[in-house]
């Protein structure tokens, strides 16, 4: 495990554990308060398993009122809070601090209202992403954001991270698909941002809380917008002799005025890994594989598939398959969706990165990633949400080898810095968390970060909500004297 600097531990809080547990047991059912080490271990990390820390206590409140009481108490006593959904985050956003209470929203697991008249569903944050679609699919509706974790990740976590997925090119990410939230602020204030209407008046606090990584408030209820299923969906599976050809094809599709429902690209390493793993029938001789999914009416989809096929041929495609039925379409996706387990089968450990770049720079960025792969002597496989420029290099390493994780992390950081250099950003959908915290200075200067910290302070004056996440602690880009971020204080 690499050393991670976190905000200073408040020893007084540690020694006060008994009183804190007692107070929490007054607020919520005593079974909802976990304080023995064996109970706390499951909460020591999220899906970024490189970092681990057992929290002081875990609380699993059952009502908004309980959340409010807990936060109010913690605010008064200056106790840190780490909100947690399903713990599937990839950037360490739910990593506990030694002197923190982990607030697990797992008991908020009910779908409160399915409202077809207003095309929305009101849910508690612990409901899984996929459960929302399951609740409305009998009437032909679905919830559009589809992160690969959708079977297990909770909607509360999706809002906190502003999760995307393969269809975000056409349908947007979580922030574009929610109408309202109920939020509890650190001082215990319960408030609603948005509702069942579009674009609530006043400052767009709903937009601010989306993707704020649990730093501004605890989300206790969400109203999501649902959409009607498209009539027809088809996919094309296209192989290319070079990454450049694949990248050019993506650019030509977009320049041709086609907004695909999804456009996914994989490099040769991943084509072979996923095909071995899932027998998806991928063209193993290709250097790049593109899955283009199109949806709409039958004639729409047929027309677009023809256009895409023409564009692919012009860009030197070596293979082209069109799905003839739903089974085939799902088979095309099976390999892509198995990218992580396929990498796990190849390497003891892997580290998934998440930068976004202008689509046109893809070939250049992949070339640089391959150069870095040689430099660090670590293999890498690349999955790419090509439609919206979101790149997921998967770095393979063996944590048992000395300095291997450190090397993987440095490699990852170099990739993200390069993404920023070509006009992209540090993270497209996984969040900053603790993972990319110190890289924020690559994108933002002191003014930018100070403004964000002032917003944090406006909603959480004592910086108790999820401290140590998102904003740099080591002060690389934060001017001396102005910052309040020295070791998180």
């Amino acid at each position: 495990m690499t050393q991670l600097v976190m905000p200073k531990i408040d020893k007084k809080i540690l020694s006060n554990k008994e009183t804190i547990v007692k107070k929490l047991k007054e607020i919520t059912n005593s079974n909802n308060v976990l304080s023995h080490e064996s109970e706390l271990i499951p909460y020591e990390t999220d899906a970024l398993t490189a970092y681990k820390q057992i929290p002081l206590v875990v609380a699993l409140p059952e009502t908004t009122h309980e959340v409010s009481e807990i936060l109010k108490y913690c605010n008064n006593e200056k106790i840190k809070i780490v909100p947690r959904g399903a713990g599937t985050g990839l950037s360490g956003g739910a990593l506990p601090l030694e002197d923190s209470i982990v607030l697990n929203l797992g008991k908020f697991n009910k779908i409160l209202e399915v409202d077809f008249g207003n095309r929305c569903v009101v849910v508690q944050p612990g409901v899984t992403n996929l459960a929302i679609t399951k609740a409305v699919q009998h009437k032909g509706f679905y919830f559009a954001p589809d992160p690969s974790s959708q079977i297990i990740s909770s909607i509360g976590g999706n809002v906190a991270e502003n999760s995307g997925g393969v269809h975000s090119l056409k349908y947007g990410t979580t922030t574009n698909n929610i109408l309202g939230v109920e939020v509890v602020l650190m001082d215990g204030t319960i408030c609603r941002f948005g509702g069942k209407t579009y674009d609530s008046e006043g400052y767009d606090l709903l937009g601010l809380i989306s993707g704020s990584e649990g730093l501004l408030g605890v989300i206790t209820e969400i109203t999501v917008e649902i959409k009607k299923n498209p009539q027809t969906v088809k996919a094309a599976l296209i192989g290319f002799p070079t990454i450049e050809d694949g990248g050019n094809c993506v650019s030509s599709i977009i320049a041709g005025g086609i907004v695909a429902a999804g456009m996914e690209m994989m490099d040769k390493v991943l084509i072979e890994a996923t095909d071995n793993f899932s027998k998806a029938g991928y063209p193993r001789d290709a250097q790049a594989l593109l899955i283009v999914e199109l949806d709409g009416t039958k004639s729409d989809v047929d027309e677009l598939i023809n256009k895409v096929s023409e564009i692919a041929k012009k860009n030197n495609a070596t293979s082209l398959k069109i799905s003839n039925n739903e089974e085939e379409r799902l088979k095309f996706w099976a390999g892509r969706k198995a990218a992580f387990p396929a990498c796990a089968a190849m390497s003891p450990d892997y580290y998934c990165m998440d930068g976004t770049i202008p689509r046109g720079r893809l070939a250049e960025v992949l070339k640089e990633i391959n150069r870095l792969s040689k430099k660090y002597d670590l293999p890498v496989a690349n999955a790419f949400h090509a439609g919206d420029g979101n790149l997921h290099p998967i770095i393979m390493y063996d944590a048992n080898k000395e300095k291997s994780l450190e090397k993987a992390e440095e490699f990852g950081a170099d990739i993200l810095k390069y993404c920023v250099k070509v006009g992209g950003v540090l993270t497209g959908e996984h969040g900053v968390g603790v993972e990319k915290r110190e890289l924020m200075c690559e994108m933002f200067n002191d003014n930018d970060i100070q403004q964000q910290l002032r917003i944090k302070k406006a909603l959480d004056y004592n910086s108790l909500l999820n401290p140590g996440k998102v904003y740099p602690i080591l002060k690389k880009c934060v001017e001396e004297g102005r910052a309040r971020v020295h070791r998180g204080e």
């Binding site: 922030t175 606090l205 704020s212 709409g296 729409d300 919206d388 950003v425 993270t427 900053v432 994108m443």
Partner: protein
């Protein structure tokens, strides 16, 4: 000697009380000075939306209209970066050359306010966040702003977002500035997501539905899988001297003769796709026995221009209000407004624009109360000139006021930007 430093040390000033900076650095210097001297300032672009909200009594004016021009446009990357006060018409014209558009359909409020087109600037649209008829399909302005640069209330230059759509690096301040009416920052640069424009447009008009049937139909349309991109209802106008009767002349097209209230639904895309979806939609809506018309691309484009331009309220002497409600409550609001006010329904039943001839605190209060009870909100967009300071323009829930005040302070601690406009 003329040096960059010398040039930057001068501050462009129109008059003693009005600044008109040439660049972002100048904006920063001016705001730093205003901050030090504790002077409030009204921020304006072209002034096309200046009449929205309460009349400001600021010491100074910050005219940002010189911050104009396209900085970068990459059609294949689907974004355009512009200086904040670039005229929206200029952006639209450039995008059109590349068969692209701002999919949120910027409104032209010029007709309503001045009786002629005045689309205003990019930052004006962002500051208001009023989106066109495609809202239920493509989102609003806040869903299309992907990056910005600005000067905050202490004079610091700040930025957020970037050139890419998928970005979760730091708080999403792009959302926050949309609809903030110039009360948080002075915008200097904006990056918009752009989308391919549609080749064809077709409008299905259904005549003489009752308000109940019309709103039910709008809701069906917005929930349809036929991929509709506009659904409006235009009712009968109140037959009295308080409101201009212009619906018949306004919506007179070759294939559309006004016979009474009508519902109009837009389909966009390729010709074959439109025909297929149109057939499907007619089945979904069960239109047997209903009188319908169909507008081809040319007429359909004209029709939706008129909707987008709010020509229904062309140069009206009355107040114009905007109510956003959950779509299933639309029928209740219409019943409340019917015959008293001139109105039309947009966004498939989620938005109602209406005109009130006797706006006063006492007449507005019950309307706002009714809309609040429907879990919606109401904005007074246009006041008759003599009443601008009378009314509460916005509806902001009390529990959000404190938070909003704190957010405001985090950007503009001395509250020098547009004080009283919204907060």
């Amino acid at each position: 000697m003329f040096t960059e430093e010398n040039r930057n040390s001068q501050i462009s000033q129109n008059s003693e009380n009005s600044f008109s900076p040439d660049n972002e650095l100048e904006v920063s210097k001016i705001v730093k000075k205003l901050y030090q001297e504790n002077l409030s300032v009204e921020i304006i672009g072209s002034g096309s939306k200046r009449r929205i909200g309460k009349k400001l009594k600021c010491k100074k004016i910050l005219d940002l209209s010189k911050l104009s021009g396209v900085i970068e446009y990459l059609p294949e990357e689907l974004y355009i970066k512009v200086k904040a006060c670039t005229p929206i018409a200029e952006i639209e014209a450039l995008l059109k050359k590349h068969n692209q558009e701002l999919a949120f359909e910027p409104l032209d409020l010029g007709y309503m306010f001045y009786g002629k087109s005045n689309k205003g600037t990019a930052s004006g649209h962002v500051s208001c966040n009023f989106s066109g008829s495609r809202r239920f399909k493509v989102g609003s302005i806040r869903d299309h702003v992907i990056g910005f640069r600005a000067v905050n209330g202490t004079g610091d230059i700040i930025k957020s977002g970037g050139n890419v759509v998928k970005n979760v690096t730091g708080y999403d301040l792009c959302k926050l500035i949309c609809g903030s009416f110039g009360t948080l920052v002075a915008l200097t640069e904006l990056t918009f997501k752009v989308l391919p424009s549609k080749e064809n447009s077709n409008t299905l008009v259904i005549h003489e539905l009752s308000t109940k049937d019309a709103t039910a139909m709008l809701n069906k349309v917005a929930s349809s899988s036929s991929d509709t991109s506009g659904a409006v209802f235009l009712p009968l106008e109140p037959k009295n001297g308080n409101y201009e009767q212009n619906i018949e002349s306004l919506f007179k097209l070759n294939d559309l003769q006004y016979k009474g209230p009508f519902t109009a639904i837009r389909l966009e895309g390729s010709k074959t796709s439109i025909q297929e979806r149109l057939a499907n939609l007619k089945k979904e809506l069960d239109l047997d026995g209903k009188e319908i018309s169909n507008l081809d691309t040319y007429q359909s484009t004209l029709f939706w221009e008129k909707i987008k331009n709010l020509e229904f309220f062309n140069n009206s002497k009355n107040a114009v209000l905007r109510a956003v409600i959950p779509p299933s409550s639309c029928v209740k609001l219409i019943n409340f407004l019917d015959n008293k006010y001139k109105y039309f329904v947009d966004w498939g039943g989620s938005l109602v624009w209406f005109e009130v001839n006797d706006l006063s605190n006492s007449s507005l209060q019950p309307i706002r109360q009714f809309i609040l009870e429907l879990n919606g909100y109401l904005t007074v967009i246009k006041h008759p000139d003599d009443q601008r300071s009378l009314e509460e323009v916005f509806t902001v829930a009390p529990d959000r006021l404190d938070i909003s005040n704190n957010i405001k302070k985090s950007f503009d601690p001395k509250k020098i930007f547009n004080p009283g406009k919204m907060y």
